[in-house]
Amino acid sequence: MSTIQVKTMAEFTASGEQPDILFWVGCSGSFDDRAKKITRAIVRILNHVNIKFAILGAEESCTGDPAKRAGNEFLFQMQAMTNITTLNNYNIKKIVTGCPHCFNTLKNEYPALGGNYEVIHHTQLVQQLINEGKLKVEGGEFKGKKIVFHDPCYLGRANDVYEAPREVIQNLDADLAEMKRSRAKGLCCGAGGAQMFKEAEKGSREVNIERAEEALAENPDVIAVACPFCNTMMTDGVKHFNKETQTKVLDVAELVAGANNL
């Protein structure tokens, strides 16, 4: 694997330059060991196509999404206004996120508080790069592999982005399979709404077990996800069924990086 090249906004500004796009890494992508691999995969793709991008580094802070979903609007707005101040000071216009929750919050909930940016999710960026001919993904290690895509709620239903990740998977020459509940009918992985940070209420089973069972019923080589939280939940679900050797849980960015041996 090649080493990755990353510059912060502070470094860009110090050298009097402005990047084309800001990569919003997100808390999971910054701190969770599994999600950090996805972050590096996204960076490898960005490096591979020579996109001039920056991260905020230590200046990035939680978007406030989990606080807002949990009902703590105060904390959300504190976070949002802190981040908006940083983003506006750097005159940021365009953001790509590694997480659908950051994507949704930055895109939909920051404008009302003075943060107006063009925000895209990394699967949308990858699909754009493929469409523009800047990125080739055909015939790599996932050729002919059966891949089932799990829709993240905050990419799919919340923002009606269903096709971008699927088009990327199809461009891998992979066999894209659909679960019974997919696209607008997709079942949540169980993490959203701040459930990631608390125990579930009493019930008959965990949501991620229900969803992993559905995905595994397709006998896929890969369960593709596009959200670090879905990744955690689906990985745990696959382990629950002792299927981790047959079925890998991978982010769409990892599929693309893998197909290019990045």
């Binding site: 990755i4 990353v6 912060t8 890494v25 808390c27 992508g29 910054s30 701190f31 950090k36 972050t39 991260i55 580094g57 230590a58 802070s61 939680c62 406030g64 989990p66 606080a67 807002k68 979903r69 949990a70 009902g71 703590n72 609007e73 105060f74 904390l75 707005q77 504190m78 976070q79 802190t82 101040t85 949704n104 939909n108 909930e109 508080l113 709620c153 905050y154 239903r157 919340a158 923002n159 009606d160 607008a184 009918k185 079942l187 949540c188 169980g190 959203g192 709404g193 459930q195 990631m196 940070f197 608390k198 579930a200 209420e201 009493k202 019930g203 008959s204 949501v207 077990i209 229900e210």
Partner: protein, 431 residues
């Protein structure tokens, strides 16, 4: 003359009663907080009139379409019955000739499809026990309500068939009042059973069924305001006032912005009236918006929301349908309280949150929007759930301990976990 008088009294009485009842529903809805919602006719035409969101479940979609189209179009025949009722005519529109015959025949086919649809719905509820139609929140009135609606529709359609069967038998016999008119593709199969009856019995049967249908319609009209069947009317305004923003966009609380923003911008001008502080979030129905309350009255308790809820599917207590039903139940309780106390609400020590909806339900939600996506009339149960979370967190500081931990991590470390903010970019140098 006498029957014309009775008809007019019934018509005026039923209309007046309906007006009074629906005005009360309107008053209850307007107990909610004001919110600006831009109406959208296209969405209403597509979702309510065009039934677009029903199509994802083909069997109930087709059956419901039979009942819906039948209900809407058979009302044209009801218009004729009204004219007949007031002016003591018989089949007043029969001057339309061939077209009239076509219409009557077409209505019979529709009435048959309505009967068929309702019968299958009864079977699905009471014999097949389709899961979403027999969940425990439906025990009691909700279940009875559903069966009353379906049985009434079957009785009214049957009355129509019997009326037409008697009518055509009288027409064949050349009874002078019963002029030859109409075509009877369905009731022609009932008519052979009536041939042994004398004219008097047939006339009585025809009149009885006519009155049964008319009284049924008046009764049904006044049943709507106390029933989930109110959706046949409110589906239209409710979809007209649909939220057209991305489903992931949750409302920004201006009252919170007024507190937070001055820390960042000393010149910030508050958006809310400081002399009239509002509760953060929702404890009782009056804290909800009028749109939330319109949602509650528009719900026909079909349970598509609950059957797609990840938490409900995995056996948790949360049911988005129950949240909406609870909202309507509490709102009606508040409405009755106001009626009893000369137009003023007297605190009854109860609230939507706590007495109807439990904390356990509220904290289980994944905010995944599956319920919002599923609702055929664009009801939003998620907004009500989120607002109750806001109340619990910001007014009562009463959230699960793990979430309090997450809050303090976000506040102190800029992440929901306890990591140092300075380590945020460590991933660059790891492999």
């Amino acid at each position: 003359m006498i029957s014309s008088g009775i008809f007019c009294i019934l018509l005026i009485g039923a209309s007046a009663l309906f007006y009074i009842n629906i005005k009360k529903v309107r008053r209850n809805i307007l107990l909610g907080k004001d919110v600006e919602v831009k109406g959208d006719l296209k969405t209403m035409l597509r979702v309510a009139f065009g039934q677009s969101k029903m199509a994802t479940r083909p069997i109930p979609f087709i059956l419901h379409l039979f009942v819906y189209v039948g209900f809407v179009l058979i009302n044209i025949e009801v218009l004729e019955m009204f004219v007949d009722g007031v002016f003591q005519t018989h089949r007043a529109f029969s001057f339309l000739g061939g077209f009239y015959n076509f219409l009557i025949g077409f209505f019979e086919v529709l009435a048959f499809l309505v009967t068929f649809g309702c019968a299958v719905f009864l079977i699905r509820r009471n014999i097949v026990h389709v899961k979403r139609l027999v969940m425990k929140e439906l025990n009691g009135w909700a279940k009875t309500d559903a069966n009353i609606i379906l049985c009434s529709e079957i009785i009214m359609m049957s009355a129509l068939f019997l009326m037409n069967a008697a009518d055509q038998t009288l027409q064949v016999r050349g009874n002078e009042h019963y002029t030859t008119a109409g075509s009877f593709p369905v009731s022609q199969f009932i008519a052979p059973f009536l041939t042994n009856m004398n004219d008097g019995t047939l006339i009585f049967m025809e009149r009885f069924c006519w009155w049964l249908h008319i009284v049924g319609i008046f009764g049904f009209l006044n049943y709507l305001p106390i029933s989930k069947h109110l959706h046949i009317l409110l589906a239209f305004p409710n979809t007209y006032y649909s939220n057209l923003k991305p489903k992931g966009e949750f409302s920004t609380l201006a009252s919170v912005t007024d507190v937070v923003a001055p820390n960042f911008d000393p010149a910030y001008q508050p958006q809310t009236d400081p002399n009239n502080p509002q509760r953060f979030g929702v404890k009782d129905v009056q804290d909800l918006t009028w749109k939330n309350l319109l949602d509650a009255y528009s719900c026909t308790e079909c349970g598509r929301c609950t059957s797609s809820c990840p938490q409900n599917i995995t056996g948790k207590k949360l049911s988005p349908r129950k949240i909406i039903m609870d909202t309507r139940d509490r709102l009606e309780e508040v409405g009755k309280n106001i009626d009893k106390n000369k137009g003023v609400f007297v605190d009854d020590g109860k609230a939507l949150l706590g007495d109807y909806v439990t904390h356990e339900e509220i904290w289980a939600c994944n905010t995944c929007n599956a319920c919002v996506q599923e609702c055929p009339v664009n009801i939003n149960p998620l907004e009500i759930i989120l607002e109750m979370r806001r109340y619990l967190v910001m007014e009562e500081s009463n959230s699960p301990a793990e979430l309090n931990g997450m809050f303090s991590n976000v506040e102190n470390n800029g992440a929901p976990w306890q990591f140092s903010p300075s380590d945020r970019a460590n991933w660059i140098n790891e492999q």
